[in-house]
Assembly symmetry: C2
Homo-oligomer: 332 residues x 2
Amino acid sequence: MTNPSPQFTPAPEVRLPTREGVLCAAAKVATLLPQTPLLALELPNGGRVWCKAESLQPMGAFKIRGAWHRLTDMTAEERARGVVAVSSGNHAQGVAWAARRLGIAATIVMPADAPEVKLSETRRLGAEVVLYERLTQSRDAIAAEICASRNCVLVHAYGDSWVIEGQGSTGIELASQMDCFAGGAPTRIVAPCGGGGLASGLALACPDAEVVPVEPDGWDDVTRSLSGGAIVGIGANPPRTACDALQTMATFPINFAVMTSHGMQGVAVSEAEVRAAQAYAFARLRLVVEPGGAAALAAVLAGKVPADGRTAVILSGGNVDPAAFARVIADS
Amino acid sequence: MTNPSPQFTPAPEVRLPTREGVLCAAAKVATLLPQTPLLALELPNGGRVWCKAESLQPMGAFKIRGAWHRLTDMTAEERARGVVAVSSGNHAQGVAWAARRLGIAATIVMPADAPEVKLSETRRLGAEVVLYERLTQSRDAIAAEICASRNCVLVHAYGDSWVIEGQGSTGIELASQMDCFAGGAPTRIVAPCGGGGLASGLALACPDAEVVPVEPDGWDDVTRSLSGGAIVGIGANPPRTACDALQTMATFPINFAVMTSHGMQGVAVSEAEVRAAQAYAFARLRLVVEPGGAAALAAVLAGKVPADGRTAVILSGGNVDPAAFARVIADS
């Protein structure tokens, strides 16, 4: 499958994301949000990684960064029109949070099977939620229809230069914290990957670090796109995954361009490896990490990505239903 | 019951804890440990408190602060003799962590019914663990015997000026973070209370703030001591509590003196209120907080302590067995 969302392919006049944009986003975020902590984590094999706990952002995921950078750069006219976003929940809450703070109307298109905690929190933040069926309806088509009928501004979850730059601010914070406590900037950053917004932003933020995007088995379209040199989407009948936040159909050219120019190669992890990582973060870091948020840690714990040098791991989100989390830790 | 541990009553020559000591401890801690995050938390009634997540310290509790300040101020001769501590687990791990880092031998006296995670982590940190039966054996007598036979230095969990000052460093960090993000220093600090080490330290750190120690129902000896004007211990046959970290028999004169001179008044919370607070911290902050660590938040959520002004809550620890935590969140 090639890029299945041509309606969102950046037009030629669209600006590309830059490192300057990442620095600007980081400066904006620094005045709004306390830094998320950097936690040292000992591995079972005696190694050590540094974990950036983005699960502790106000709405539980790094997505607040890109949403804030995007919405604060909108003109007054754009703000008055309102925004639309498509998301299984974390980008949804990020946009809803930023929109409420800025007095912008927000409509969020979410899959009907999104975790209840993500649906309810998005509504609690004041956004209008429009549900769709993940396997039978096109979320992008629904969003495009809303944009057209209401004349709203689409805030894409990853195929957007502002969003990429905003997510990249994670890397600026990370590098400064590692300079203080780890003896230098990260040499490798392992990050959960859906569409590649975070991975692209991290590559711009930390050009000298190896950035490793991690996807769930069967949803590893970015990994296959990077190894094959062209964007491919997920296959037909992808497997079920607990990593709802990482279920994207294909990356976008804007992300792919940044990731390939950085020489990035991805990795895929199993559901069992993800659960083990959630249980490890619970026991050793006392953090609640959602399945998708634990994917990068899963890759390191499974030995799929080495932890040598100064390796950092992004714990990208913590929005998980209590019953699901209880099962994961009770079985560990 | 009056002070049941006369063998640990500070001798006249013992120095009292000071605010200067707290500032010194804070400076030492700042070079060793990243600040724990300050997280804004919306309450169900629309109010807001600021949560200091000490559960994210390397071994999962604020106790690492006092242990570090105490052990780093020991002479070379004292270090060579080794240390003994008595603890249900968090002070144990704090002392074990600091001792390992400084190359000091550590023996920890722990109740046989301590959470398994606390026992195993203390051993993993290289300490020798000596078990006792909470209801039939005197932990202080066992510790005194070890001290005498091995010529070790006792590091008391709360009745020690260095330990009090070290725990107070939490307040220095908290005040500086609230200045940045909450518009000023805290006007009230609500803190879980076992023997009063943290509460005493916070009072020295933030003399202008109201400090409210919170204990579990039936283990509210500090609350009753403060309201009665004299140290009393817990009653006979105290109820079972999940707050293992707060099960102390009585406060010490050194803590009582600081708390009374600060005009402190305590509050007690029920087991159900504690569980509700753990579930709330899970859902809204994505943090794993142990029962005792959630006591202060429980008091605020139950409306027993107002959240007006700039109220801060200490989430003091996160070491909890997975099965117990799974039950708390699954039932929420």
